[in-house]
């Protein structure tokens, strides 16, 4: 192996020996032996994360598809249900998630620059913003329980669709369908937020212990991709659920 000249683009057999390159100036302790170099390892991790994100898009896509079909079929009931949601809490939560996405991208930047304390700071702020979102969501859910707008035996919907001042009565069963989708979609999104908060708490602890260097911070990058995905899902949930026929 010693006398086989290694050239860029040579076969894999010649490239699998980084474990023995302790004296190589570019040695990176985080580099796994089955990767040719750090960039390849990073690209592989990123590709895997993006494939996971595609499955998430299809997972939520199924619910978005069900939502679209039922919204078209029962528009008045969906509009009446949407008008019962708190648009301001929804908008504030959108803003909270956008700010958290900024802190995530700043965390990735801090990790790349090798600033450990700045990284931990941004990760902690991200978790706090995520918890803020969940608390606001909790108040919204509490209001739904109080108004008996939670699907089930106690569901009761007497509100009408305010169509530019014209009060249109709607079938409560159809409104129940709206709230079923509302709870399924925001609930699944909230579950992703809870997972994200746990994930970022773990990343903050790892960062505090000095697991990440400017050469290796793939978990921060991929955790960030996850957080942005959850943000994007909310970016669509907000107009679709909260903003149906608000112009009264």
């Amino acid at each position: 192996m010693h006398n086989s000249p290694a050239t860029p683009g040579s076969t894999a057999a010649q490239t699998v020996a980084p474990a023995a390159t302790m004296d190589h100036e570019a040695f990176n302790p985080a580099l796994r032996h089955h990767f040719a170099d750090a960039q390849q390892q990073k690209n592989a991790a990123s590709l895997g994360m993006w494939l996971f994100i595609v499955t998430e898009i299809m997972f939520f896509g199924g619910m978005f598809c069900a939502y679209l079909i039922y919204r078209v079929a029962h528009f008045n009931a969906f509009a009446a249900g949407s008008q019962q949601l708190n648009i301001w809490l929804g908008a504030v939560n959108t803003a909270v998630l956008i700010v958290s996405s900024v802190t995530v991208v700043l965390a990735v930047k801090a990790a790349e620059s090798g600033k450990r304390k700045v990284l931990v700071g941004y990760l902690v702020v991200t978790v706090l913003l995520g918890l803020t979102f969940l608390v606001i969501k909790g108040f919204e859910y509490a209001e739904k329980f109080e108004k008996h707008h939670v699907p089930g035996p106690t569901f009761n919907f007497t509100e009408k669709f305010d169509d530019n001042g014209k009060q249109i009565p709607v079938n409560p069963k159809e409104a129940e369908l709206f709230f079923s989708l509302y709870f399924a979609m925001t609930g699944m999104h909230a579950l992703h937020m809870i997972i994200g908060c746990g994930l970022f708490t773990g990343l903050a602890i790892m960062a505090w212990k000095g697991h990440f260097t400017s050469d290796y911070f793939t978990p921060i990058e991929n955790g960030g991709l996850y957080w942005h995905l959850v943000d994007i899902i909310w970016i669509y949930l907000f107009p679709l659920l909260y903003l149906i026929s608000r112009h009264t």
Binding site: H2, A6, P8, N28, A36, V54, I57, L243, R246, H247
Partner: protein
Amino acid sequence: MAEPEHNVDPDLTIEHEHTTHSNAFYIAIGAILLVLTVTTAAVAFVNLGPFNPVVALLIATIKATLVVLFFMHVKGASEKLTGAVVVSGFFFLAILLSLSLADYLTRNWR
């Protein structure tokens, strides 16, 4: 296995992909996203007839595109495969939505 030469190009391992921007750039993108959020909430109270959902989804798509391109670093990614996977994700979502709605929206056509 004494001192194996392997083909790690030091330039590749030490240099990072130049996909990150300055902090000010990210904060500016965040500010644009916040302005678009206020815009979409405000426009919802204006009666545009059938165009209310169109405008709302258009703004949402602009916001999502900004997040994907700049926060998720798809723009400028060195790996073309990442871009292909991202596009394929939205391609299959488009198939799911368009073919399903092509069925449900046309059932009353006689």
